[in-house]
Structures are given as C-alpha cells and as structure tokens.
C-alpha cells in the first residue's frame, strides 16, 4: 500500500522535473503521427487537386507532342463565349430550383405522416426510404423504361387518359423536368429521416397544450413545429444544394445531356469536356466554377448557422 503510494509520488515528481516537457513534445509528435496517414491522402486527393485545378486552368490543353503552355485567361475567355456553358449553368439552376424545394417539402410531409398515427406507417416508411439505398444508376434504368415513348408506363397512363403520345426524355421542354422527378424521388426519403428524428425529439406536451387551447393542427405546425425544425431544414437544405450540383449518374443513363444539351448539368459537362473531348484544361476551368459554387454554399451555411436557426 505505502509502496504503491511512493511509486506514484516519484512518478509525479519525475514528471514535474523535466520529463513534463518531454511529454508535451510527445503530444505534438503523437498527434501528428496519428493524423499523418489520413492527412497524406486528404492532401493528395483534395487539397492538391484543388490547387492543381486552379493552376491548370491557366494552361492550354496538353496533347501528344504538344505540352501545355501558359495561356492566361484564355480558358475563361472561351468559357464566357461558350453558349453551352451558359446553357449548362442555366440548366443546373433550374435543376436546383426544381429539386431543392420539392424534395424538402415532400420530405417534411412524409416525416409528418410517418410520425403520426397513420394506417400502415411502417410500410409507408419503407416505401419512402427504399430509393435511398438503391444505386442511382440502376433505378435510372427503370425510370428510363418508365419514360420510354410508345409503350413506357407513363405513355400507357397518359394513353388511358386519352392524351397524345409524347417523348418525355426526347423533348427539350420536358427532359429536365423528368430528371428532376427522378432526383426528388431518390432523395426525399433520405431527407425524411432527418425530419423524422427531429419530430421525435419534440416534446409531445407542446401539441397537447396547443390542442387544449384549441389551435388547429395547421396553425400549430406553422407556428410551433416548423420553427422548431429550422436547424433540420437548414441541414437538409445544404445537402439538397450540394446534391443538385453533384448528382449526375442518372444523366449518363437517361439522356447523356441531350436533347441539345437540355439536360446537361455542370458536373456532367465537366465529364463530357474532360473525358469525351479530352480538353482537360477547359475542364479544369469549368471545375473551378463548380468549386466556387460549393465554396459559396459552405460560406452561406457558415453565416446562416449563427443566425435565425437556433431556437433553443
């Protein structure tokens, strides 16, 4: 007993005299050593590529026997003059304007339904969430079949209603809308679970009190539930915005950006320019535009987080 006490005593004295400094050093060394493997990969595949994107966007496209040369802002000049770029940017804004509010509203609606005492709610939750775990590339094939002119399911339905035949994915007016539907279908159930979690954490007494005071369910939702869900809404919003610039798998399957680039989104255009036309310099300039957009989203999230969203 007294022995072990003595050991601890020496230990403490030992640390106080000089070895303490050694320990402080070792904290830095150990910390960085633990971080090192992840840091190497992160720098190699995130930070350096961002820097290289900026750098390469000021050079011409290297070709066999013709190395890249400094061209200044030429790539950006051709970007400004490239009508396809502006069209793609416009498409992406429409795509965002379509998918973001629609998927958020539907996710909230689904969560409220599944959270309440609705008949068959576990089946409903299953139906809503399943698209989240399916590969986009696989379900895009099914949706392609859906939209097929002539005998696809949509055509059969509109045919029953006596409407004229329409090539949904082949028409410039409807193709992008078709992709919006697929995207909303894919991500609404994913967003639903965050609303569901938030709803379940709300105190049931709030609702009871409101009911006692005779507030309608809609009034209660509008004035109490929805404001309390604000942090969740912000979280979902940021994800929906990022997704609207990141999800392009279904384009590869369903439209390849057509007809006449009507469904090409920014990342898809980068893929097209970089890996079909092999103009990697122009693709770098386009990537930078995408990076700026994502940085703006990050900044917006950062600024918004402090304001308006915290009610607790």
């Amino acid at each position: 007993m007294s022995d072990s006490g003595a050991v601890t005593g020496t230990d403490r004295a030992f640390r106080a005299n000089g070895v303490g400094a050694g320990r402080a050093w070792s904290v830095h060394v150990q910390g960085w050593l633990l971080l090192l493997p992840a840091a190497v990969l992160l720098v190699t595949f995130t930070h350096l590529p961002v820097a290289a994107t900026i750098y390469h966007s000021f050079f011409s496209n290297p070709r066999p026997g013709r190395p890249a040369v400094w061209v200044g802002l030429d790539n950006y000049r051709s970007m400004v003059e490239d009508p396809v770029f502006w069209q793609v940017l416009g498409n992406n804004l429409w795509f965002a304007a379509g998918t973001i509010p629609l998927s958020i509203v539907l996710a909230l609606l689904m969560a409220v339904w599944v959270n309440g005492r609705i008949a068959g709610r576990s089946l409903l939750r299953l139906a809503f969430f399943t698209p989240t775990v399916l590969p986009m590339i696989a379900v895009a094939n099914v949706w392609l079949f859906f939209y097929t002119p002539g005998y696809g399911l949509l055509e059969q339905l509109t045919g029953l209603l006596g409407l004229p035949s329409h090539n949904w994915l082949g028409s410039r007016q409807t193709a992008l809308g078709c992709l919006v539907v697929v995207t909303v279908w894919k991500e609404a159930g994913f967003f639903m679970i965050f609303y569901l979690a938030a709803l379940q954490s709300l105190s049931p007494q709030l609702g009871e009190a409101a009911a006692l005071m005779g507030a309608s369910r809609w009034y209660f939702f509008r004035r109490v539930t929805f404001p309390l869900l604000m942090p969740t809404t912000l979280f979902v919003l940021v994800n929906a915005v990022i997704n609207s610039f990141r999800l392009v798998d279904h384009i590869v399957v369903m439209t390849k950006g057509g007809p006449d680039n009507a469904t090409a989104l920014l990342l898809y255009y980068i893929y097209d320019v970089g890996f079909k036309f092999w103009d990697q310099a122009y693709a770098a300039a386009l990537t930078l535009v995408l990076l700026v957009i994502l940085a703006a989203v990050a900044l917006g999230q950062f600024l918004l987080l402090d304001r308006r969203v915290h009610y607790q």
Binding site: L35, A39, L42, L126, T130, G189, L267, T287
Partner: protein
C-alpha cells in the same frame, strides 16, 4: 374527413414511391412479352436473370464491387479512427487549422475533382485498378468528424485508468475508445457501404476493363451496348445489381434508417 384525405394522400405518395421498384420486379420476373402488359395471369420466370447473368461478366463485377467496398471501408475505419483520436484527445500544434482543412472535404468531395484526380491516378499508374477507384475516398472527412465527436464524449477517466494500467496510446485507443464507439462504426459502415456500392461516375472514368469494373459501371456498359430494347433482361440485371443492398436493407431496416440518421446529424 380530413384525416381520411390525409391517409389517402400518404398512400398515394407511397404507391408512387414504390412504383418504379414494383415495375422492375414485374418486368424482371415475367417473360418479355409481358414487359408492358400487366396481365395478372402472366407466368412467372427466372429466365431473364439467367440471360442477364450469361450476357455479361456479372460474377466478376460482383467480386470487384465486394473487394472495392471492403477495401475502402477497412481503410476508412483505420485512417479515420487514428485521425479522430488525434483530434479528440491530443492538443497538438496546429490542431484547429488541420481540422478545418479536413472539413474542406465535406464540401468538396472527391466526386467533383474528377479531372485532377484522374491525372494523379494516371501518374501513379493506378488507372483501371480497384486501388485507383478507392484511394480518393479512403481518408474520409465525414468519418473523421463523426468519430471525433464520439471520442470526445468518452470520459477522460477511462483513458487515464487504461494508461495507469500501463496501456500505450494505441492500446488505449483499441481497448477504450473503439468499443465505446461501436454504434457509430456500424452506422458509418452501413452508410459507406451503400455509398460505394452505388457510386458510379468516378469508377466509370477510372476503369476501362472487366478486371476492375464495379457492378454499377458493368451494368451501364451492359445496358447501353445494343441491349437497347430488351427491357426484361435490363431490369433483371438492374435488380441483380441492387439485390444485396436491398435485401440487407429489408432485413435490417431499423438499423439502416438509424444509421443514416445518426450519420447525418452532426
């Protein structure tokens, strides 16, 4: 009245959401002539699956995807655990800045850096390999963040008790932190596996042979090359590709939903 209306609305939406999968199941399990004719008496068949399986090297694609997903997950768990431990419990110089630099990857995911990462892979000689597909995702900012939050909630006393017993740094991590974070590991693992099982654009760019193609790319190559109109076979292949995840999801539904929830709420 309004309750009934709401229930009807919910069910309508639910049906709409289930429709694509139901449609795929119908087409895949019936002969081609019933692909677009919904006769309840149509005979069931597995011939579409047999045809799809024979028409492309799906066995190889399955092996590739399984290896890829396992490799990425193993690396993520290892790397993120170490880094998260550093951020949670070591007040090393530059920690705040390093953490901020890690968080950059939450916004700028490898998915958007395809052009430069392709250049890097070609320089490393890793084009058309599983390592080439997986490497950009192995150090996951998301995983580091998630585990750091968890490790910070571990009582310091437990850590110190292990040290007093003579456990070294890594032993403490392994014996104290990792067991306590098990639910988070499961959540992260499920999300990571679903993400990489389904990932498409980057593997499409990096691979160009059967040897390294994952299922998603294989499915795309298969369904775009002159299978054009044979929807029965394409939907069979589609279901085959999604089956492992779908079955796992149906079996462990609650676990999946909770994992996605836990992983999302930061």
């Amino acid at each position: 009245m309004s309750r009934a209306l709401e229930t009807a609305g919910a069910w309508l939406l639910g049906l709409l959401w289930a429709l694509p999968l139901a449609y795929a199941v119908w087409t895949a399990f019936h002969p081609a002539e019933y692909a677009t004719r919904f006769t309840p008496t149509a005979p069931l068949t597995l011939v579409n699956f047999a045809n799809a399986w024979a028409a492309a090297p799906f066995a190889r694609y399955f092996v590739n995807t399984t290896l890829l997903v396992a490799m990425i997950l193993a690396a993520q768990l290892g790397l993120c655990t170490l880094a998260a431990y550093a951020f949670a419990r070591f007040a090393f110089a530059g920690r705040a800045v390093a953490f901020l630099l890690v968080l950059v990857q939450l916004m700028i995911m490898p998915d958007v850096l395809i052009v430069e990462n392709y250049r890097t892979m070609s320089r490393l000689g890793l084009l058309d390999t599983l390592a080439g597909i997986g490497l950009p995702y192995m150090a996951s900012a998301f995983g580091i963040f998630l585990l750091r939050q968890t490790f910070k909630t571990v009582p310091k006393e437990l850590d110190e008790a292990a040290r007093v017993e003579g456990a070294g740094m890594l032993e403490t991590l392994w014996r104290v932190y990792v067991p306590l974070a098990r639910p988070v590991y499961i959540a992260y693992g499920l999300v990571s596996v679903s993400y990489h099982w389904n990932n498409f654009l980057w593997p499409l760019i990096v691979t160009n042979s059967v040897q390294s193609r994952p299922l998603t790319v294989g499915l795309q190559v298969f369904s775009s090359v002159d299978q054009g109109v044979d929807w029965s076979i394409i939907t069979a292949a589609t279901l085959m590709t999604s089956a492992p995840l779908l079955v796992a999801f149906l079996l462990f539904q609650r676990q999946f939903v909770q994992s996605f929830m836990r992983a999302g709420i930061r």
